[in-house]
């Protein structure tokens, strides 16, 4: 196999797999060394594979290479401190010949370890993105809309804490698992969002990252302590969103909005998986869960024949319910879309003005994009063009910028 033909995100996925496998085998207190050998193994692969071709089982090659490097490193440390070698590990062969199942289990344990309650929520997220999802600091910073050096600092602190508490950080079972579940789900949600919103990289949709999030959620769902309504709602939401992958971007890498998407090629299989999890989620409990709101909205979109025919009144009602449950300016801003679709641009423009005056929410790209659409609907073309210009000015996402420019130029014609 040629080196330029390997699976997308192979290195990123393998990073998580390597860290999980080595932490399980050698102990999390070696985390610092583990990270070093994992990084070196990827570096080695980067240098060798273009010359010699990609091994048949790239991930197994990486895990074995990193494992052997770690053994060498630990031995060298023992010699330095004059501790006789225990000869415990001669060479590293993964206990089970690195079956996917073992790796998945190790990774599940790793997620729960990263979500230890002694760590702040932010640090839990950073640890998981780094150690399970294999993100770099810059990628994490982009996903969390934070500064890269702040992420690096937080990561170093969180990692130290993990090492210091290595003994306590064992995988919790039963009650422990379900009490940590919300944060684990949130992290999976963030991984999915990062892939879906495509902050980073040239590929407009980092599909694999989204599928990775779905894979992790399915992994949780197979564990009886983690198979909860919230897990199902998250799975439903991700499946509905993922069903639109093929229609979200055109050949030029420009975003196609919901209105223009070819609904006939939405992935019906993913939609039916989403429906299954959605009904599982609502069967089990009447209490609204965090992801249910988004799952149902997504479901309404999946169900609608056209953009205009979407059940905007129902979606609007969902937004109102959600705002009562937990108000956030972002949800208030997003609510203006179903509001204008259900009740027209005049009410929409009023709501946008109210948002600007009262909500203390961000005046961001989305704000200007909504404003532009409202002005477009009211036939104020000059106003709409100006709003698109404002949106383009502050957009920091290549695909999004392209889309906004296209909309603006359509108005100029």
């Amino acid at each position: 196999m040629d080196a330029h033909k390997i699976v997308a995100h192979q290195f990123r996925h393998s990073y998580g797999a390597m860290v999980a496998a080595l932490s399980k085998r050698f102990g999390i207190h070696h985390l610092h060394d583990i990270e070093d050998v994992v990084q070196e193994s990827l570096f080695k692969a980067m240098k060798i594979w273009p010359f010699k071709g990609v091994p048949v089982h790239p991930q197994a090659w990486l895990i074995r290479t990193a494992g052997n490097a770690l053994i060498d490193k630990l031995r060298a440390d023992q010699r330095k401190r004059n501790i006789p070698s225990t000869n415990q590990h001669d060479s590293f062969e993964p206990t089970d010949p690195a079956t996917n199942e073992t790796i998945e289990d190790d990774q599940l344990q790793m997620i729960f370890m990263c979500c230890h309650p002694d760590l702040s929520e932010r640090n839990q997220i950073i640890l998981t993105l780094k150690l399970v999802a294999g993100f770099g600091n810059l990628e994490i910073a982009a996903a969390l809309l934070q500064k890269a050096d702040a992420v690096a600092k937080a990561y170093t602190r969180a990692k130290k804490k993990i090492r210091d508490q290595a003994v306590k950080l064992v995988t919790p079972i039963e009650i422990g698992l379900s009490s940590r579940l919300p944060i684990v789900l949130k992290i999976i949600y963030l991984i999915f969002s990062e892939g879906y919103r495509t902050h980073f990289g040239k590929a407009p949709i980092q599909k694999d990252l989204c599928y990775e999030a779905i894979r992790l959620a399915l992994l949780l769902d197979r564990n009886k302590y983690c198979s909860k309504p919230n897990t199902h709602a998250l799975l439903a939401m991700m499946s509905f969103h993922a069903s639109r992958f093929e229609t979200r971007v055109d050949e030029d890498g420009c975003i196609i909005d919901l209105e223009q998407q070819d609904r006939s090629i939405w992935d019906q299989e993913l939609i039916s998986i989403g429906r299954r999890y959605l009904s599982k989620s609502t069967d089990a409990s009447n209490e609204p869960t965090d992801y249910l709101f988004q799952a149902i909205i997504s479901y309404h979109h999946c169900k609608a024949k056209t953009y205009v025919d979407t059940a905007w009144d129902k979606i609007l009602a969902l937004y109102d319910m959600e705002l009562t449950r937990r108000y956030t300016p972002i949800i208030a801003l997003n609510r203006i879309v179903p509001l204008m679709m259900a009740h027209g641009f005049e009410i929409g423009l009023d709501a946008l003005q109210t948002y600007k005056n009262q909500a203390r929410g961000p005046i961001n790209t989305l704000y200007y994009a909504i404003k532009a659409r409202l002005l477009e609907m009211s036939r104020n073309i000059d106003g709409a063009i100006d709003a698109y210009k404002d949106a383009i000015k502050i957009s920091d996402n290549e695909a999004e910028t392209k889309y906004l420019i296209k909309r603006k130029e359509a108005l100029l014609e």
Binding site: I6, R12, M46, F51, G134
Partner: protein, 113 residues
């Protein structure tokens, strides 16, 4: 037609700092570049080199880590490429991803017998 030795130097210090995703992207560029050379029948041979090595002088009386053991001067790998002329070899080397991280390529014609 002559064979040319491409010696790749430097850039590793930056490369090892990359995220897994970036490393993979960089590797794929090398793979694509070399794959192209191979398909065009221009690639004769080549291998990456470990960064650790020794320089032996005076028949072994002096053995050092070498002047190039650290930093930008480390030779990271080599290729043997066939080309019509030195200029053509230079042209080929321009597509190499080594320059992304401040590395360079030394090109030497291999003497023919």
């Amino acid at each position: 037609m002559s064979n040319f030795l491409f010696l790749f130097r430097g850039g590793d210090a930056q490369r090892i700092q990359q995220s897994p995703e970036e490393m993979q992207a960089h590797m794929e560029k090398w793979g694509a570049w070399m794959g192209g050379l191979k398909e065009a029948g221009k690639l004769v041979d080549g291998l990456p080199l470990n960064k650790d090595g020794k320089v032996v002088e005076k028949a072994g009386d002096v053995i050092t880590d070498g002047p190039f053991a650290e930093g930008a001067e480390v030779v990271g790998g080599y290729l043997i490429v066939t080309a019509d002329s030195l200029d053509a070899a230079i042209e080929i080397s321009k597509g190499c991803p080594i320059y992304e991280h401040g590395g360079n390529t030394e090109i030497r014609e291999i003497m023919s017998m």
